[in-house]
């Protein structure tokens, strides 16, 4: 264990040239598990998989391996995306392409593994195959990225989700992780990092769409003896589970994003504010932070750069409203989570009166990629005013549900008809709710609107933070709307009270 740690630190993290030595690459292929000499079984283990029964599947696989295939390796990975396929099992036989099987419940494990290890595959459970050069094809089996669910997506920030063990920092580093962070703290000034992000045109993904780099600069340019970075993983909206999926499937990239953002604003304290009830995500994140600290990525004088950083996790005590910036700050200060009128904005006077930047999980996930590939690369994705991609949590009455990532500029119709594969049970479409209970409804005439901040705003639609709930003809809109309005009534009255007091 110690060997691989020093190897990764010396030859990868702190290696000065951008291209690694060929012999390093060779070792990394094995760390990434691209090359393997043993069969590997991957099981998705996000919350949606656990609910669908993946824990029992894991137990069954474990027992099977011990009894029949002791050479096989068994790994729990994050969530690949299609929640309707959970529990999703992926099998990698050495020298051949990876095979994906859907809805593998406990009782299906034994026949499935017997089939795979003896070359007799049951086609019913098969979802598809993925592979790269040099691997043998499975004839007659579709490729995963050709399925309509994946073909219409552009997985950029989710590209690691479901591919690696989220608890293994080694694998993340082997996939190019944390190099951008080390480079930033060693070679760039605070302003340079802000400039790169501003140039990329990255906009806040929590719905507002404010330029992230500009926000950072506001905080950086406010004179103060301390600054704070808060990662808002509160995700209040019912029906949105994108942040949690990211936390469970790729915690290290989020941590890297937080670390780079903290450096850019000169903050030595970062806080991740999480939703209550997602213990699974919290445990993964906690482990990931511990591993990163073990590698010396946080703490005092990180990699002799003179920069100090501490990351803490805080769990919300349960109030819809404390996802709002000012209410969130009050909660962190140990007060009632009441929103306040802005200005002053948190970037001037936030947590404990110090300049504070609050960024959404999805926004921060983009940061390491922009630092790695450059702002111009980011501009090639999406539209001119809204570069990049957007992650949605598809829920409700679609035939397929799950977490999807699309390039900005994709129409809502593509998401509904191609990715979600239309409405369940052949019912008629009624509306899509974008952005949770306080978001907007999209009806049939607006389906051809592309996902883009300005184009949606022109039609009076807010982008929201990632909720994408499909509603069919049988659902009463009044009930759908009112039930959640009632739940949030108490919370909304808090907003109103603040507003009226200030009038």
């Amino acid at each position: 264990m110690e060997d691989i740690k020093t190897f990764l630190i010396d030859k990868v993290l702190t290696y000065e040239s951008d291209t690694l030595l060929p012999e390093t690459e060779k070792v990394l292929q094995y760390v990434r598990r691209e090359k393997t000499d043993k069969p590997i079984i991957y099981v998705s283990s996000g919350t949606s998989s656990v609910i669908a029964g993946s824990e029992k599947t894991c137990d069954a696989i474990d027992t099977y391996i011990k009894e029949n295939e002791p050479s096989a390796v068994f790994i729990q990975v994050g969530c690949t995306g299609p929640a309707s396929y959970e529990p999703l099992v992926c099998i990698h036989i050495p020298g051949k392409n990876k095979l994906f099987f859907r809805n593998i419940t406990e009782e299906k494990v034994e026949p499935l593994l017997n089939g795979v290890f003896h070359n007799d595959i049951n086609e019913d459970d098969l979802a598809g195959q993925t592979g790269s050069k040099g691997f043998e094809l499975w004839p007659g089996i579709p490729f995963m990225d050709e399925l309509p669910f994946f073909a219409n997506q552009k997985r950029v920030i989710l590209n690691n989700c479901g591919c690696y063990d989220p608890e293994s920092i080694e694998e993340y580093i082997a996939r190019g992780g944390y190099r951008a962070y080390i480079k930033a703290i060693r070679h760039y000034t605070f302003e340079e990092v802000c400039d790169i992000i501003e140039k990329s045109g990255l906009r806040g993904r929590s719905g507002g769409g404010y330029l992230t780099g500009l926000k950072w600069k506001h905080a950086l340019n406010t004179t103060s003896n301390a600054r704070y970075l808060i990662c808002n993983a509160k995700e209040s909206d019912p029906g949105a589970f994108t942040d949690r999926t990211i936390l469970e499937s790729d915690p290290h990239r989020l941590i890297e994003g937080i670390a780079i953002a903290s450096y850019a604003i000169g903050a030595s304290n970062a806080i991740i504010f999480m939703r209550s009830g997602s213990d699974h995500a919290k445990n993964r994140l906690q482990k990931a932070i511990e591993r990163a600290r073990d590698f010396g990525l946080f703490g005092h004088n990180i990699f002799s750069s003179g920069y100090n950083l501490e990351i803490t996790i805080r769990v919300e005590p349960g109030a819809f409203v404390c996802g709002e910036e000012t209410a969130l700050i009050n909660t962190l200060e140990g007060k009632r989570g009441m929103p306040q009128l802005k200005p002053p904005y948190p970037t001037t006077a936030g947590l404990f009166g110090k300049p504070t930047v609050i960024n959404n999980v999805e926004t921060l996930m983009n940061v390491p990629l922009i630092m790695q590939n450059g702002p111009d690369w980011f501009r090639t994705l999406g539209t001119e005013n809204s570069p990049g991609t957007k992650v949605f949590a598809m829920a409700g009455k679609g035939r397929l549900t799950g977490v999807v990532e699309i390039e900005m500029g994709t129409t809502i119709r593509t998401i509904l008809e191609d990715i979600a594969d239309g409405i369940k049970e052949g019912k008629e479409f009624k509306a899509i709710q974008l952005g949770g209970a306080s978001g907007s409804f999209i009806t049939a005439e607006n389906l051809d609107t592309p996902i883009d901040y300005e184009k949606l705003r022109k039609k009076g639609i807010g982008m929201g933070a990632g909720g994408f709930v499909i509603i069919d003809e049988n659902t009463c809109m009044v009930v759908a709307n009112v039930s959640h309005a009632v739940k949030e009534r108490e919370e909304c009255s808090k907003y109103l009270r603040v507003l009226s007091e200030n009038l």
């Binding site: 609910i51 019912p238 005590p317 829920a395």
Partner: protein
């Protein structure tokens, strides 16, 4: 099979005066911003915020008990009564709602005869309504002491509650 129905039974005892002090000792600085994590940790340990725990926290942080109550009642995750032996969580996220979680809530209300967030008089059942557990394609979902039940229908509930009652009696 029994394990499938009931999940893990709540076995936390109600008087754990010592553990509150142990938690308080972890927060040596005792600042205002420690209040919420402190209360959360006490609740994780005891299952609820007892009067005794709130008084102790108050004297530790130098805050009045009323202020702490004021804060704790603002947030809906804090409880002031212990959980029942069987704790049911019902998902009412948009997806589960569309798939019929309202009828589940009504049925459980009817079967247990108590309101969400409360505990039945015999201390056997308590239930709460949560906003999205994350199993959106398997809704409606309920969670009985950590054990998920997916695609649940209102007519299955009386049977489930009966089984749970039997399990409690046997213990």
């Amino acid at each position: 099979m029994e394990e499938n129905v009931r999940g893990k039974m709540n076995t936390k005892s109600k008087s754990m005066a010592g553990s509150v002090e142990a938690i308080l000792n972890k927060y040596k600085s005792g600042k205002r911003e420690d209040l919420i994590p402190l209360l959360q940790e006490i609740q994780d340990d005891l299952g609820y915020l007892s009067e005794e725990a709130i008084v102790k926290t108050g004297s530790f942080l130098g805050m009045s008990t009323t202020k702490i109550y004021g804060l704790a009642t603002f947030y809906d995750r804090f409880r002031f009564i212990p959980y029942g032996k069987i704790q049911i969580r019902i998902c009412n996220g948009t997806s589960c709602f569309l798939n019929g979680s309202q009828s589940i809530i009504n049925k459980i209300k009817e079967e247990t005869g108590t309101l969400p967030g409360q505990t039945t008089r015999d201390g056997n059942f308590s239930y709460e309504i949560v906003s999205c557990m994350g199993g959106c394609c398997n809704g409606p979902i309920i969670n009985v002491n950590g054990q998920y039940h997916t695609h649940i229908k209102a007519e299955q509930l009386p049977e489930l509650i009966k089984k749970l009652k039997y399990v409690i009696e046997k213990d």
